[in-house]
């Protein structure tokens, strides 16, 4: 550029025009770069802001949650504080057992059926499959309170089972199923067609190919989806709020009213007793720890899947 410009006389019209263009473009470039830097900085700021709630929440959970967790927290039933013993909150053993029971029953209902439907969707292009695909994706985003309404009307009310672990587990199973279906479908689709064709070419029947080749190859995706579904169900409050009855007993029986960790938080967060409001942080810490372990293990499974595929 410079070499070229030196060849021209300084005062020719074309060189004046060139200088003008250069001046304008320099000014424009400086302005554009400033705007760009500011906007990029703002985006970085947004990233930082979005991290604030996570940090603040975990800080509060640890600060307020750790002190209230002791042995009785896990092993004793809740007690109601009285004026004489305002700190007698007891433990939350019923809620811990309740959460485990609900998750177990819900998984038994949701995982096998969800995997079946997911495999069906991945292998079929029928009208039913197309409809179920839309339904499962819509249901995956449905408000969880609706699962509670459904389980209440159907199990608690119509079938007259009453408030029970099985009603809550049903609500959670309806919640989990779409998640399992979608991740199974994606996992099974991800299995290379060459594997299927190799199996078929060796003369295996389609169902043998599906059961012995495709499903084992897709298993880590299916496991990931199931863990995700469980971790979502563990933390849900609204479906169990309407269905399980919040019993103060340690029970594994499906027809007993049980409690759950999120439900206990919901009920005690507005308690008039400071000791109960303090204990809620311990429950929240246990719940979050549980959910984090589940979702991190799902992520590790997912990473494993990628390694295997590569």
């Amino acid at each position: 550029m410079n070499d070229l410009s030196e060849l021209h006389e300084a005062s020719t019209p074309s060189s004046r025009m060139r200088d003008e263009i250069r001046r304008t473009s320099d000014a424009s470039r400086a302005r554009r770069m400033t705007v760009s830097r500011i906007m990029i900085l703002l985006c970085g700021l947004a990233l930082a802001v979005s991290a604030v709630p996570l940090v603040a929440l975990i800080y509060e959970l640890l600060r307020l949650g750790v002190p209230v967790i002791d042995k009785t927290f896990f092993t004793t039933l809740p007690a109601t504080p009285t004026l004489i013993a305002p700190n007698a909150t007891g433990g939350v053993s019923n809620a811990i057992i309740g959460t485990l029971v609900l998750t177990l029953y819900a998984s038994i209902m949701a995982i096998p059926l969800g995997v079946l439907v997911g495999v069906y969707l991945s292998e079929s292009d029928s009208k039913l499959a197309a409809a179920l695909r839309v339904i499962s994706q819509t249901m995956a985003g449905a408000p969880s309170i609706l699962m509670g309404l459904f389980a209440f009307s159907f199990i608690v009310h119509d079938l007259n089972v009453g408030f029970s672990a099985i009603a809550g587990a049903f609500a959670l199973a309806v919640l989990m199923m779409p998640v399992i279906i979608i991740s199974t479908e994606i996992a099974v689709r991800g299995v290379p067609n060459t594997l299927r064709e190799a199996g078929l070419a060796l003369g295996a029947k389609p169902h043998k190919v599906s059961l012995r080749i495709v499903l084992p190859a897709a298993i880590s995706g299916i496991v990931t989806g199931s863990i995700l579904a469980v971790s979502r169900a563990v933390g849900e409050t609204a479906p169990v709020l309407l269905t399980i009855g919040g019993g103060f007993i340690n029970s594994w029986k499906p027809l007993d009213p049980v409690s759950a960790l999120p439900l206990t938080i919901f009920e005690n967060a507005k308690s008039e007793w400071p000791s109960q409001r303090a204990q809620v942080w311990g429950i929240a810490l246990v719940l979050v720890a549980f959910v984090f372990v589940l979702s991190l293990s799902a992520r590790i499974w997912a990473a494993r899947k990628q390694r295997v595929n590569n």
């Binding site: 709630p53 449905a142 209440f152 199923m177």
Partner: protein, 329 residues
């Protein structure tokens, strides 16, 4: 919902139609295995029909006799009635729209920062953090909002907001006991739907073809010009999809809103006053209600379902259209 799943759905939508249908064999060559799978699919179809049908059926008494009261009445007096749902409908719209504005502004910046600023090797860590934010149960957000944010709002934010000229017209000054209000509910909701929005918008932004970005950089555009004039317009439809999904999520959020919105059924446009939303109202009233009130709450549930499903379907359709846009580019 988990972010891995959201991303996978989007990936699926963006990738395009798969080649399947090998399984749709003629009826003569079906084995027991086909029938087991089909049986599973039929059971799930029955459950989902039952899901919609049962809730609608339980709300039928309200739709038959009190539709106009439910949609336009502003008073909810248990246990006999009338059961007007206007306050909850307005509250749901107010809180979710304000939450959406918060989430979209912060979320768009976050997605751009993740895709174009963070070095590739840290991207995984950031993705995990966003996912953890989504994994935290909503009740924990509610608890945090109620016991930490509400006192802070009451002591610091509310007086500060009211010190602005004309702020009183928007926010009012309720002197609310616990600091719970529609504004607090909107903020908590905004934080909660942020990961949903980021998961999808990040995916949509990151699939904008690199050719376009490089072509405009080579023409002398700055990074921001590339983002504003090339990336965002290309990803526009998918970003609308992310917005609608986040809105759907916000309308359905239950227990967090039940804890921080104040739980008062008033049609309220002053944001510092307590209010409620459809989902939160169902959660907080259901325990003590019977008969007609349950039917009315179920009818609110039907409204919520219709709103949520419509938003989800629009969102899905938009993300699908984004795929077509990408195919044309």
């Amino acid at each position: 919902m988990s972010e891995i799943l959201n991303e996978s759905i989007v990936e699926l939508e963006l990738q395009g139609d798969h080649v399947a249908g090998e399984f749709d064999t003629p009826a003569t060559s079906r084995t027991w295995y086909h029938y087991v799978l089909i049986a599973g699919a039929v059971i799930f179809a029955a459950v989902s029909v039952g899901f919609v049908g049962t809730i609608f059926w339980s709300s039928l008494p309200t739709w038959l006799h009190h539709t106009s009261t439910l949609l336009t009445g502003s008073a909810w007096s248990s246990p006999i009635g009338p059961f007007g749902g206007l306050a909850m409908i307005v509250g749901t719209l107010e809180t979710s729209l304000i939450a959406l504005v918060i989430a979209v502004i912060i979320g768009l910046g976050t997605s751009i920062a993740i895709v174009y600023m963070i070095p590739a090797r840290f991207r995984n860590i950031v993705a995990t953090l966003v996912e953890l934010l989504a994994a935290i149960p909503s009740i924990v957000y509610g608890l945090w909002g109620l016991l930490i944010l509400a006192p802070w709002m009451e002591k610091t934010v509310n007086p500060w907001l009211n010190s602005w000229p004309f702020a009183h017209e928007i926010f009012g000054n309720s002197g609310q006991e616990f600091g719970t209000s529609l504004l607090l509910a909107s903020i908590v909701l905004g934080i909660m739907i942020l990961p949903t929005f980021v998961a999808i918008s990040r995916e949509v932004i990151s699939v904008v073809p690199q050719d376009l970005v490089e072509a405009s950089l080579s023409l002398g555009a700055t990074r921001w010009q590339v983002i504003r004039k090339v990336v965002l317009p290309t990803a526009r439809i998918g970003l609308f999809g992310a917005t609608f999904l986040a809105l759907a999520r916000a309308t359905g959020e239950t227990v967090a809103v039940a804890l921080v919105a104040g739980g008062v059924a008033n049609v309220q446009f002053h944001l510092l006053y307590p209010g409620t939303s459809i989902a939160a109202w169902i959660a907080s009233e259901f325990g003590e209600s019977q008969g007609n009130e349950i039917a009315a709450l179920m009818a609110l549930g039907v409204l919520l379902m219709a709103l949520n499903f419509a938003l989800s379907l629009v969102s899905r359709w938009l993300v699908r259209r984004q795929r077509k846009v990408l195919a044309l580019v």
